[in-house]
């Protein structure tokens, strides 16, 4: 099966890299799915969960990451997800995110609420 190489990088570190068969991310005009052989693409990402269906050496499975702002770029079967902040679902502290969500709701901070919400959804897998 064809596969594409994925690099998920945050501003200060490389979060994940490996082979995948499908990557679903949320751009500013809607969800986009990228499979091997997609046309070269450069898009603006919105805060949201990114789902990577892994294959090949990385093993079959699904990696979910919470991504806050950034870009998706695909060329030569190489997909780069650039984000200022990116966290894999198993790195996310659920209780902390829940607390942050509560706090953001009471403080009516829409941006913080969205961030916490994205983190929680990345963990629970409810997209």
């Amino acid at each position: 099966m064809a596969e594409l190489h994925v690099e998920l990088v945050a501003a200060d570190r490389q979060v994940w890299s490996g082979e995948a068969s499908l990557v679903v991310a949320r751009t500013s005009s809607g969800d986009i799915g990228v499979m091997p052989g997609h046309q070269p693409l450069l898009g603006v990402l919105q805060s949201g969960p990114v789902t990577i269906r892994t294959t090949g050496e990385s093993g079959d499975g699904t990696v979910v990451a919470a991504v806050h702002g950034g870009f998706i770029s695909f060329a030569d079967n190489k997909l780069s997800l650039l984000a200022e902040i990116a966290e894999l679902s198993d790195e996310i502290d659920v209780q902390r995110a829940e607390r942050a969500l509560e706090r953001a709701k009471s403080a009516a901070d829409a941006a913080a609420e969205r961030r916490a919400d994205v983190r929680l959804r990345a963990v629970t897998g409810v997209h």
């Binding site: 501003a11 200060d12 490389q14 500013s28 046309q39 693409l41 603006v44 950034g70 998706i72």
Partner: protein, 305 residues
């Protein structure tokens, strides 16, 4: 103990204490360089991917964007100078300041006004002492900068670039920081961030990677992508500069503290030589006093017989 010898002993003790402190500072700085270098390396994938993307949009589309187009007659330029908060790093901060001064002179000679932005307490106090105006300044994070710090610095700069020149905006954005070449070499450099010199970027990209950039499909549109991409590009460049400056600062501190320790060692050596000579002189004097006293006593007893 004689007065002279006591003074020497006291000085040796104080220099030894200083030496211990500088030695400790040297070792702390050495361990921090490694950490700072790791941070530089960790931020590299993001920076290089971003540069690739910016080059792709800027060369692959005909969009005119405020951040990429060169103005015919640039009237004002912003200079971001990165220094450190603390001293004890040899000529680190003053070298960066000198580089900024040279750049400012050059820009002024080209007929541009210069707005100065400063990171680090050393630079701020240099400009405050000379009563020069500073557009904005930031302190408190130069030892270990985070991406949030870089964002805070980039915000007002991007705002200034986007503003109209007539309303106090700037046409060019320069950055002066100390590049970390190696453990032994750190050199202050000045770099033009904006407008992007696309030709140079594109050429180095192509020769470096031997590939032709593909024709991208932009989502939602080339303008929107550029709008979102360029501020991030500036932030990431500033972040990289801050990290390199931090690594350079630690390397400079290490070197300065190493030579301070060496000097202290030298000083202790020559002081103990002097102390030994003083002690020796004291002993010699005591012996001659005793001998003199004894012979005087012998003379006196011989005379009374």
């Amino acid at each position: 103990m004689g007065a002279k010898l006591r003074v020497y002993k006291r000085r040796i003790r104080s220099v030894t204490a200083t030496k211990k402190i500088t030695k400790a500072m040297e070792m702390i700085a050495a361990s921090r360089i490694v950490k700072a270098q790791r941070q530089v390396a960790a931020s590299t994938p993001y920076a290089s991917e971003l540069t690739r993307a910016v080059t792709a949009v800027a060369t692959g589309s005909n969009t005119q964007h405020a951040l990429t187009t060169e103005v015919d007659k640039p009237a004002r330029a912003a200079v971001l100078l990165i220094t450190s908060d603390r001293g004890l790093a040899g000529g680190y901060s003053s070298n960066a300041i000198k580089a900024a001064e040279r750049l400012t002179e050059r820009l002024k000679a080209e007929g541009k006004e210069v707005d100065t932005f400063i990171v680090g307490r050393k630079g701020v106090s240099y400009y405050a002492f000379r009563e020069r105006t500073v557009a904005d300044s930031w302190t408190g994070f130069t030892d270990s900068p985070t991406y949030a710090d870089a964002k805070a610095v980039a915000g007002p700069l991007i705002e200034a670039v986007l503003k109209d020149t007539a309303e106090g905006g700037v046409d060019e954005l320069h950055i002066v920081f100390t590049e970390f070449v190696s453990m032994m070499t750190q050199s202050p450099v000045d770099d033009r961030l904006l407008p992007l010199s696309l030709k140079a970027t594109a050429e180095t990209e192509e020769t470096a990677q031997g590939e032709i950039l593909p024709l991208f499909d932009f989502e939602p549109s080339a303008e929107d992508v550029l709008d979102a991409l360029l501020p991030r590009y500036v932030e990431s460049r500033i972040y990289n500069a801050l990290l390199q400056a931090a690594a350079s600062k630690h390397a400079a501190t290490r070197r300065a503290m190493k030579s301070a320790t060496d000097n202290a060692e030298e000083l202790i050596k020559s002081l103990s030589r002097l102390a030994n000579a003083a002690r020796q002189a004291e002993i010699t004097q005591e012996i001659s006093e005793i001998v003199g006293g004894a012979s005087a006593l012998a003379d006196a007893t011989a005379g009374s017989d």
